[in-house]
Amino acid sequence: MEQKYEEEIQMLQQEIEMLEAEQEETLRSIFIEHGDRLQHELKSVFEERGGAQKPTLSKLITEVRELEKDLRRQTEINGIALNECFVKTLHKSERKLVQQLRLAGHCSVLLFQVEFAVTEIQDDDALLRRVTEVNIVVDGVEFKDFSAFVSRVEDTKDLLLFFRTLRTFSERCEERRQTFRHFQEKYPDVVSLPEGCRSDLMIIRSPQLPG
């Protein structure tokens, strides 16, 4: 008799785990496909203040507001804006989690797309986390000589180095852009930017001197 219950309990627990995982995936997929529309629909819910909000929703609304605020903070301090974030959970158990993430965003004007897999193992008192695959695509005229670096980062799986470097690189590009623009504005006859102010090419040609 006991055994029957125990078996049923185990089966129910598995079913519940599966349903929860399924629910997570479905909700994620809804947001991936229709995020903009949903945010639009929910705007009216958000705009209600005070007693007009239903109590069951108000906790969720507060949470979402807080999360949005926190995300703005992280984006500002990290200098990295994430426009897309797809998460796929490949394996989830008590001690192990394997996920695939696909991120797209920008660092100032530099666009990137990064796909990576991360494995987390709970080992008694320590959490071991490692990145197992990295794929990076960068877009922009500034990235002409970046491909060697990107290959190296993909080989060494150094995700953190990529984003640190992206930040520094973006700042330098911005400085260069401003410098070029400044020169062009000040000396329009002599200075030309054949590829625009975002490129790495500035030509100085004096009309009086040869060459």
């Binding site: 008799m1 006991e2 219950y5 125990e6 309990i9 129910l12 627990q13 519940i16 349903l19 929860e20 399924e22 629910q23 909700l27 994620r28 997929s29 809804i30 947001f31 229709h34 995020g35 529309r37 949903l38 945010q39 629909e41 929910l42 069951t56 929703l57 969720l60 949470e63 979402v64 999360l67 949005e68 926190d70 995300l71 903070r73 992280q74 984006t75 301090i77 990290n78 200098g79 990295i80 994430l82 974030c85 998460v87 993430l101 991120l103 991360v118 071991l128 986390r129 490692r130 990145v131 990295v134 060494t156 799986k157 150094d158 995700l159 953190l160 180095l161 984003f163 640190r164 930040r167």
Partner: protein, 286 residues
């Protein structure tokens, strides 16, 4: 007819036997209590499972409606509309949490405001070759000037000098420099660890807290095994690779040999443990 009577008898007999068993002392009491508990648990789980199924169905309907571009606010009943909004908000919350995690995983500072905005706490995540290593934390007081109030960065690290140079002028630059140097430190330290783990035959003669100097003793293979001392100096604290490598051996012909010149380059260009594993694989060292 007989069969029927038999089964009834068996039923009654069985029941009597059960009653008899139940009358048999404490053991049985425990068993029946446990049985009760299991029963209760099963019922609770069943209810949870059913509720989840119900929610899953509601969400699937929602997804369907959205895919077909149907209006969402003409739900059948007021209650239905709230369920809908709840699902939408839950989906949104999930996405926001995913984004938070993403920022965390790509090495973000996980900035947290404390003391009503008077101070902030930041984290510096470090990693090497895909493995996440230590996280260092720091609280910055923002009341008048920016001051470091608490941190757990190792004392050997030149924190004060970096703070003096950049902190007041450029907070983000300060964080960036710190992150860069702490990652390089973690990387250098991890190389020493991996060296000991993977290349046990090489002895670490000297290393320090900042891991900016590493002296290794290897055994060169040959007719007679010879001790070779490799000194790796890390002059640039933002890097995981050494700026200078010197090879010393009693046998000068060995240390001057083209093979060891190549090894010297290898140690300059790749992480220490990788270089030594290569050297061992090539048969140069034990």
């Amino acid at each position: 007819m007989d069969g029927q009577v038999e089964t009834v008898e068996q039923g009654v007999l069985g029941h009597l036997m059960a009653l008899e068993r139940r009358g048999m002392g404490q053991q049985d009491q425990h068993e029946s209590q446990r049985l009760e508990m299991l029963k209760v648990r099963a019922v609770a789980l069943r209810a949870q499972r059913d509720q989840l199924k119900h929610q899953a169905d509601a969400v699937k309907i929602l997804k369907d409606k959205i895919s077909k571009d149907l209006p969402l606010d003409d739900a059948d009943a007021a209650g239905g509309f709230i369920e809908l909004q709840k699902s939408l908000l839950t989906a949104w919350r999930m996405q926001l949490k995913d984004l938070q995690r993403a920022h965390h995983l790509i090495g973000g500072y996980d900035l947290v405001e404390c003391k009503e905005g008077k101070s902030v706490c930041v984290s510096f995540h470090t990693a090497f070759e895909g493995v996440y290593l230590e996280t260092y934390n720091m609280e910055l007081d923002l009341t008048r000037t920016v001051q470091i109030s608490r941190h757990n960065i190792p004392p050997s690290f030149p924190l004060e000098s970096i703070a003096k140079q950049i902190l007041q002028k450029d907070l983000k630059g300060f964080l960036q420099t710190l992150s860069q140097k702490l990652n390089a430190l973690a990387g250098r330290r991890q190389q020493v660890y991996l060296l000991k783990e993977l290349v046990g035959s090489v002895e670490v003669m000297e290393s320090n807290q900042l891991c900016n100097i590493l002296v290794l003793m290897c055994t060169a293979q040959g007719e007679t095994p010879k001790a070779v001392l490799c000194t790796l100096e890390y002059g640039d604290l933002t890097q995981c690779l050494p700026t200078r490598v010197s090879i010393e051996c009693e046998d000068k012909t060995l240390s001057e040999s083209p093979q060891w010149k190549k090894h010297q380059s290898l140690l300059l260009e790749s992480p220490a443990h990788t270089a030594l594993l290569t050297m061992r694989r090539m048969g140069s060292i034990a």
